[in-house]
Subunit: 495 residues, 2 copies
């Protein structure tokens, strides 16, 4: 499947920040454009004050990179840009360079549906500086958003404790692809279906939906509206009961349920979209059971999120199916993930990789230098720790220590002999060629489930979760400390 | 310009909720599909607890409707959908109906850049029930988001008090179009430029940007990096000074500024992206002034929004240009507008328009029945009140009263003779044909400015704004009351 090709015509090479192009130009002018660099994409904090994050968006990334090129009209647009003095912004030689540019990077990334943690790379790009820079913005755009939504969906489906969660956020989503990509990520995170028919078609996601208040209002009475709906969909009736009066609506649904039954059909259930969902769902359950419809489902919707679902559960509301929209597809309580993309190494003219550090007044913002992978250790099927390590250094098989990048007093001893290790960054592109086959979305969704299953439930608590250990392998920790201190000394010399 | 055509291939007819299709099918089965209906699109509360909202997105809507049709592959997808018993979800006759469907509605809407208020329609669709239904979701998706972002941008630019606001949210935006549409709406709302080159190309918005921390890190020293950048862009140097140490960075910028000056060039300024912006901007101003660069601009960025900008202004920070990203393009503190689309009238078989009401346990959710327009009254160029009125009823030229839809004790006397009135809903489509020419984006942006200028500043206060009067014209108020009471009585009869 070619997602962006299906969605967007032609090239998306200009879907980047202008400063990537000005930097690319300046690199080109300085003769540095083909210098090789390594950039890591990672986030610094779990969203929603949670204890885990679910990676998503890689298939979009693969598609984006595979189709990466500047088209004639992109070049024409850039050729028309002017510097303040009226001269062309970019020299022709540079535009020719862009027109002939072919994607040639290596990309390693965690697979979609992988549970990931702060500071550990979820994607790594190795390649010519100019290409690495141009890719920064689109890769962040794609992975930031889809990872955010997959995580939100996982939290919501965890709160629903295995009951179906229907996503219907299209009308409040942030733009057209804000909706499509959200539906995809929500499914990966655990939702059961989407209302977005185009997402269903593009991504092969189950779609679902019944009717709206306007259906009811377009008839002379609610009863008449339910009957007409039952005529069209005798096997799929979920009656929306709150257009005029919820309790009366439930009675009308039961009436039509009885008519259906007299024809050998069963209504599926009812939906409540307003009012006190705990109260009305329990009333509905009682009325439906009393009328001989114990199997009729009760669907609830109305600004639901993981917290309200958990609260309704704790109140023993009689809800079987959860409809979520706005709060999920916009990640309402934290609508951006804030992942970043940082240079971590440059290859010198002599061919040596030189690790790079960015010091900051905020310790949180000091990057991790070098070329890393992330190894997850399992003990009896349960994830116990993630170790960020330098890819070109052997990890001591007799044991090592991982050190929290923000607090060097937090350490954990790793005895590889007792654990199973799995390296999370998998090769996706090699020299610009895809060497990874994106799995079908059902498999990705299953991976999310399996991955979440491998973590202790205390890490998945919605509020105040238990922190999962992630640390730098000793050698990497020392490299980083040395470089930070060197950089600080370097500054002193300048003062 | 064809926005969605440029962005998306083919038809977007499936970009809708599945329940619109099930309802369409059921209308078709019930022989009601061609019944004429009127739907209003409106929101119930200003976003961000503000006092105004700026409408945006109409050009997308025009493009969407103009290209509205089901393609063969859409029909094939729908034909492949199965009911629970394995039979096709939709009959072939209905699919033929969809395949032959041509957009034939009337649409009236407020122009982009119009300041709008709760409960008053910002768009009205009149046409066959099925088409009205299918359009609900995409129109909400488009207008909800762009209106939200234009409003956020207007708030931020108001806080910046005329100083340039650069939008660079692409990397944290919600999806690809979440970024593109946001850049467009942000420009309409008052931003000066975007970092998103593709938005620049598609919408003709100015783009801007200089360099990132990675530029600095890719050189042996900051000074060397600044010099190389100055070589490439001698007229456009805004040096990012906080990669290692902000004060040292400012010194290095000044050094390179002096080199530039020796070549007859001037640096444009510096950018600070971390740390205490009030402190460092004032330090920078002093250093730049002291070194003979009083015209060098200070650009600030780092999670800015209207509140932080207002706070920095009140602290007399020496910032001249404001860079905003995440908080703007995701409307971080309220990432969805929540506009709705409600049936307000149906034409009976006799050809009479019958106003429709939806009662609700929440008074806020009772709709406004009938076919309306919105008239804005001005006194000496200042907007004084908006009146929602029935389009087919003459407003008493000797005077009327407008009544708050939520609180009938809040009323305002309107004396048309003393005011200039302007009807805000303009004809956009007539019988499915566009009769409106979308203005260039510069004109839309200017309209926002002019419109905001026509409101008293107390309505534009960021916090706890003065409420602008919007009410139902007397006749409409009475119609609504009668229908609500009738609906409530109707319910009583059922109990």
């Amino acid at each position: 499947m070619k997602i962006t090709k299906d969605l967007y015509q032609g090239s998306l090479a200009l879907l980047t920040d202008f400063y990537q192009l000005t930097m690319a130009y300046a690199y080109w002018k300085a003769g540095k454009g083909e210098e090789e660099a390594v950039f890591n994409l990672f986030f610094r904090k779990h969203p929603f004050q949670g204890g885990f994050t679910v990676a998503a968006g890689l298939e979009y990334v693969v598609d984006y990179c595979r189709n990466f090129h500047f088209e004639k009209k992109d070049i024409e647009y850039l050729a028309g840009m002017k510097a303040p003095d009226g001269s062309p912004q970019f020299e022709k030689g540079f535009l020719d360079y862009l027109e002939n540019l072919r994607f040639s990077c290596d990309i390693d990334a965690v697979e979609e549906g992988t549970v990931v943690f702060p500071n550990a790379p979820i994607l790594r790009v190795k390649g010519p500086l100019i290409q690495c820079q141009l890719l920064e913005t689109p890769l962040l755009n794609i992975l930031n958003f889809q990872t955010l939504i997959a995580t939100k969906a996982a939290r919501i489906t965890l709160a629903a404790k295995g009951e179906p969660v229907l996503e219907f956020g299209l009308r409040r989503a942030q733009g057209i692809d804000g909706a499509l990509a959200a539906s995809r990520a929500a499914y990966i995170g655990g939702c059961t279906s989407t209302s977005n028919v185009m997402a269903g078609k593009l991504f092969g996601i189950p779609v679902s939906g019944t009717h709206a208040h306007s259906w009811i209002m377009s008839f002379e009475s609610e009863l008449e509206a339910f009957e007409a709906y039952a005529d069209a969909f005798p096997d799929q009736c979920v009656f929306l009961v709150d257009t005029y009066d919820t309790l009366q609506g439930i009675k009308n649904a039961i009436k039509v349920g009885e008519i259906l039954r007299s024809k050998g059909k069963e209504m599926v259930g009812i939906r409540i979209d307003s009012g006190d969902l705990a109260y009305f769902s329990n009333q509905a359950r009682e009325m439906l059971d009393g009328a001989g419809f114990p199997n009729a489902k009760i669907v609830a919707s109305n600004d639901l999120d993981e917290y309200i679902i958990a609260s309704l559960k704790s109140q023993e509301a009689s809800i079987n199916v959860w409809g979520v929209g706005t709060k999920l597809v916009t990640a309402f309580d934290q609508p951006a993930l804030g992942a970043v993309y940082k240079l971590s190494a440059i290859r010198t003219e002599e061919g040596e990789w030189q690790p790079k550090i960015k010091v900051s007044q905020q310790t949180l913002k000091i990057n991790i230098p070098g070329i890393h992978n992330v190894r997850r250790y399992y003990s009896q099927g349960k994830a116990v720790a993630d170790m960020i390590f330098l890819e070109d250094q052997e990890v001591n098989p007799r044991g090592t220590v991982i050190i929290d990048p923000l607090d060097p007093t937090r350490r954990k001893r790793i005895m590889p002999a007792f654990y199973q290790g799995e390296d999370l960054l998998k090769p996706i592109f090699k020299d610009g060629k895809v060497i990874y086959s994106c799995p079908p979305i059902e498999k990705i969704r299953q991976r999310t489930k399996d991955q979440l299953g491998s973590f202790d439930k205390t890490h998945k608590r919605l509020v105040n979760p238990h922190i999962y250990p992630v640390g730098l392998e000793e050698n990497l920790h020392h490299l980083r400390m040395d470089l930070v201190l060197k950089a600080k000394k370097f500054e002193d010399e300048n003062e």
